[in-house]
């Protein structure tokens, strides 16, 4: 377990120096939100708010994941990781841990910005909860697929192609729960979608941690 924390710390340190991943995510998501705002009919934008948020997070998240593995490759990190006498599952935990940290921090920064655009309260605790839960599943599945995509010769295509269809339930659940939160719906309604998010998180975290060793093997 401590080894996983070491990996997380290593990622955080290299990120703190380069600040690459966080800025990419923030800017990309911001741009996505902006384009949506222009692209959608102003009358329906408020209704579509939850969708706009999650599309922005999803695409920025995928970008972040593929850049994370790309950078790892560039810096020779992956070979280094594999030479370490560390179980593959621990490497997975480390990557998911740091990925989650980056993505969630970025989301925390973006949500107030989103609120400003959409005329919503700056801090919405329930929305933060939805983001927290959904990001777990997002990063678990995303890390697995990003590791595979990084090995193909069509990385920019493969990650979305692999990730998005498989993540459909997660995205639907995240959007629906967010929409209910923003609409002020009763907690009971929101929990049923949260349960779906949790179920997805559980299933795909377990699947990914079992499958990851097969992906890293040469």
């Amino acid at each position: 377990m401590r080894k996983a924390l070491v990996i997380i710390w290593k990622d955080v340190l290299s990120e703190a120096r380069a600040r690459d991943l966080l800025t990419s995510f923030l800017l990309y998501a911001l741009l996505a939100m902006l384009i949506f705002y222009f692209a959608l009919n102003p009358e329906i934008v408020d209704d579509a708010a939850a969708g706009v948020l999650w599309v922005a997070f999803t695409f920025a998240g995928m970008l972040g994941l593929s850049r994370s593995f790309f950078l790892e490759r560039e810096r020779g990190g992956i070979d280094g990781l594999m030479l370490c006498p560390v179980e593959r599952e621990v490497v997975f935990l480390g990557k998911v841990g740091s990925g989650f940290l980056f993505m969630f921090v970025a989301e925390l920064i973006l949500m107030p910005v989103f609120s400003i655009f959409m005329n919503l309260p700056l801090f919405i605790p329930r929305l933060v909860l939805v983001a927290f839960l959904a990001t777990i599943g997002f990063v678990s599945l995303g890390t697995l697929f990003a590791a595979m995509a990084a090995n193909t010769r069509a990385q920019e295509l493969m990650l979305p192609l692999l990730f998005l269809p498989t993540a459909v339930p997660l995205i639907i659940a995240a959007v629906e729960s967010s929409a209910l939160v923003l609409a002020g719906a009763p907690w009971g309604e929101i929990t049923s979608w949260l349960q779906m998010i949790l179920a997805f998180d559980a299933i795909f975290f377990v699947l990914a941690i079992f499958a990851f060793p097969y992906v890293l093997e040469t």
């Binding site: 090995n151 295509l157 692999l162 498989t166 779906m196 299933i203 499958a211 097969y214």
Partner: protein, 223 residues
């Protein structure tokens, strides 16, 4: 062609011809409103079942490949994915063709049709992953997707169905139960396509094995 393949081919052909007769001549029209286009049902639904059958072969092959490492399982997995993609595609397109006279639109975000579209994309991803990944890693990566995708199927279906209950819309397919004549026609059609599926699966797996054998022969020759 081996004997079994010939038998499957013959039986399948007879089955399809019989099914066509039942669909066009024998079975009564189910819903006068929808008209004769409703009969698309008798082939549209079997396409879905066959693709599920194919994808479960992929699931099986993927698990066994990761566990045992024998290439044969990988051939099975790949074949299942390819055949599944073909039949899923047919299911989606015939569903769309059916939607048009039934609901006036070419696409209706029906839960089953939409789930099938997502499923199709997952396995298209499987196939593309195979072609874009270096040969020594491709089977293993694909096996992971084969397993993940299959486990995802029920989740995708329930999520979409649930989502649809919040945003209701048209549903494709026969609402209530099936009249005995319709059931018979459906089953005959399903049986005929299953026979063809088995034939296709055998052919495809055989082809993969043949390709592998040729590669090995070339490798051995180079030494």
């Amino acid at each position: 062609m081996k004997v079994l393949d010939r038998v499957l081919w013959a039986l399948g052909l007879v089955g399809i011809l019989f099914a066509l007769y039942l669909v066009f001549m024998w079975v009564p029209t189910a819903d006068v409103r929808e008209g004769i286009a409703q009969r698309i049902f008798y082939f549209h639904v079997p396409m879905a079942w066959i693709s599920f059958l194919a994808f479960s072969l992929t699931f099986l092959g993927s698990i066994l490949y990761l566990w045992r490492g024998t290439k044969g399982w990988d051939h099975l997995a790949y074949s299942g994915a390819e055949i599944g993609v073909v039949f899923a595609f047919l299911n989606i397109v015939t569903g769309s063709i059916w939607a048009r006279p039934a609901w006036g639109h070419w696409w209706v975000w029906d839960p089953r049709l939409t789930s099938m579209l997502v499923l199709w994309l997952i396995y298209v991803g499987y196939l593309l992953l195979r072609s874009y990944t270096p040969a020594h890693q491709a089977p293993r990566f694909a096996a992971v997707v084969g397993i993940a995708g299959f486990l995802d199927v029920p989740i995708v279906y329930f999520a979409i169905r649930w989502w649809r209950t919040l945003h209701p819309g048209p549903v494709i397919g026969t609402g209530g139960g099936l009249h005995p004549t319709m059931l018979t026609t459906f089953l005959v059609s399903l049986a005929a396509f299953t026979l063809f599926f088995i034939l296709l699966a055998r052919l495809r797996v055989g082809l993969r094995a043949l390709e592998a054998e040729i590669e090995e022969t070339k490798e051995a020759w180079r030494e």
